[in-house]
Amino acid sequence: MASLFVQIKGELGSFNIDFEHNFQSDGITVLFGPNGSGKSTLISAIAGFIQNIEIFISLNGTVLQGQKNIPSYKRSIGTMFQDPNLFQHLTVNQNLDFAIKRIKSENIKNYNITKIEIIKSLDLQNILDRYPVNLSGGEKLRVALARTILSQPSYLLLDEPMSALDIKHKAKLINFLRKYNREYKIPILYVTHSIEEISQISDEIVLILNGRFIENGPTSKILAGDHFQNLVGKFEASSVLEGFVSNIKKLYNLTTININGQYLIVPGKPGILDDFVRVRIRSRDVIITPIKINSYIAENILVGTILTIDIEKLSAFSELIVALENKENKENLQILRVRITTYNLKKMKLSINKKVYIYIRSVSIDRQAYQYD
């Protein structure tokens, strides 16, 4: 498994950073934190652009910075900044060649990805002869991504690459990144503060706040955790359910997702049959009851058990964490956050370990990160 160890400590201007973490994953790790928490600083440091403070970085046992300092152009790390930074005096094709000509010889054995393949999968065939000034935002981004990948890095850093993209293109690019990550086994460290992107792309999340490491773990665990919920605010608090597409109702434009043996019907087409998908469900959109009520209320009735109850003293609300009943894969615990009024909580006499019915209306489901045809 790839291992990227980062230790960084010191003052950068007025910003104080003290971060230490070993990123151990072959998948896609999302680095999440609010603006100004130090995400970009961390990316810059790993890429080799911060020198004057105490830094130790090693990739798979090789020290990049610390006892010695390998300059950025010799590190086998591909970095894409927020802005695509295409070279304006070169055509798209020449931009790609710039990277290919400079592949470090020791990296060639890493994997063999051809220019033709990448041009095809990022749909660049028709813009190869254009100059960056004549490209749309989405096209620039795709060219920058292709260029970074063609430099054949053994680790990929992406700093909020999709902040300027619309939803449709985002979903396509997310799919591409997942596929690239799986096929070529290149770990990706992905910086974002978009919740939709996280739930679609990440295998693991690392939380950073005020220049400090907070916690890391699998996506669904972190998203349901208190740190994350505090970061994004209770009102937008949500949970992510994972499952496989088990049925598509073309006539009604609905898709059924199998979540450990329970079924969730969602609008649109987040994937094709057997695709792995994630759905973000806002805490305030969930209705729970201790007894089964009329099933016309919502398309989805799931069953679960209350794990925790958090009564907010200063507001009218309570937060509940409900574990969904697991009918298939016992290992995979799926958690749902529910926000109801404390008044309703008392009225229903809910308590920990109590079985509840969960009603989710399909219209309330966040469609933003779905992939469209």
């Binding site: 810059s44 890429a47 080799g48 652009f49 300059p71 950025s72 152009y73 010799k74 590190r75 790390i77 591909g78 970095t79 900044f81 802005d83 930074n85 070279f87 304006q88 005096h89 710039f98 990277a99 400079r102 592949i103 470090k104 260029r147 970074t148 430099s151």
Partner: protein, 230 residues
């Protein structure tokens, strides 16, 4: 110099002027470009001091610069002494003295447009080139310079034109020796002193036209010309 004596003195002055401007620009390419690069990308505490020194020729009277250069070029100084050792000639009243003076008073005209041009390329573009495996020289010659070709043209044209037009410093440092240090600007001055207004008209008119054409070329090719006095 033998050939010069056969030519019209004004033609000699013209050739000398062009030679001076061109030599100065070539020297500035090697001296001014690294300074512009340094000022654009380093955020050192020395930057304001360096920038102030380089910009001084823009605000000082030419006679002040001329005076200090004469002092500086005298055979008693290290530079003056060294020049005599190497060439057997005094630096003052020589063509190379003129080149040296021109480099100093044209330096801001080379550095400033190029510096702002470098700044426009931006650190992120350079870092991106680095992450793609390009080292410092590779990045400079294949990314930065091509992106700054307009800034480079601006620097060249401004420095060239400014060197051609300078009068005060050139007169003080060069002394206006025919065939050696007498440039067009001094020729015009001499013609006016001798009341030969006809000849002065030709030269002055020629300079006016040439300068206009140079600036026109510049503004057509580059709309974002920028000169700053900080």
């Amino acid at each position: 110099m033998e050939v010069f004596s056969l030519l019209n003195p004004d033609i000699v002055a013209l050739i000398l002027t062009l030679k001076l401007a061109l030599t100065t620009c070539v020297c500035l390419a090697f001296i001014g470009t690294p300074i512009a690069y340094f000022l654009a990308f380093s955020s050192g505490k020395l930057n304001p001091i360096i920038e102030s020194i380089i910009t001084l020729p823009l605000v000082l009277p030419p006679t002040v610069i001329g005076f200090y250069l004469i002092v500086f070029f005298s055979p008693d100084t290290m530079l003056g002494n060294f020049f005599i050792l190497v060439t057997g000639e005094q630096l003052i009243f020589s063509f190379y003295g003129l080149v040296f003076a021109s480099i100093i008073y044209s330096l801001p005209f080379w550095v400033q447009p190029l510096q702002s041009s470098f700044e426009k390329v931006g650190v992120k573009t350079i870092q991106t080139a680095n992450t793609l495996g390009a080292g410092h020289f590779d990045t400079f010659f294949n990314i930065i310079l091509p992106l700054c070709r307009r800034g480079l043209l601006t620097s060249f044209i401004l420095s060239f034109a400014h060197t051609m037009g300078e009068f005060g410093i050139v007169l003080m440092v060069g002394g206006g020796i025919h065939g050696k240090t007498k440039v067009l600007a001094i020729s015009i001055y001499d013609h006016v002193e001798q009341l030969s207004f006809g000849k002065a008209h030709y030269l002055a008119g020629g300079m006016l036209l040439l300068s206009f054409i140079i600036l026109l070329t510049l503004y057509i090719s580059n709309k974002n010309i920028s000169m700053r006095v900080k």
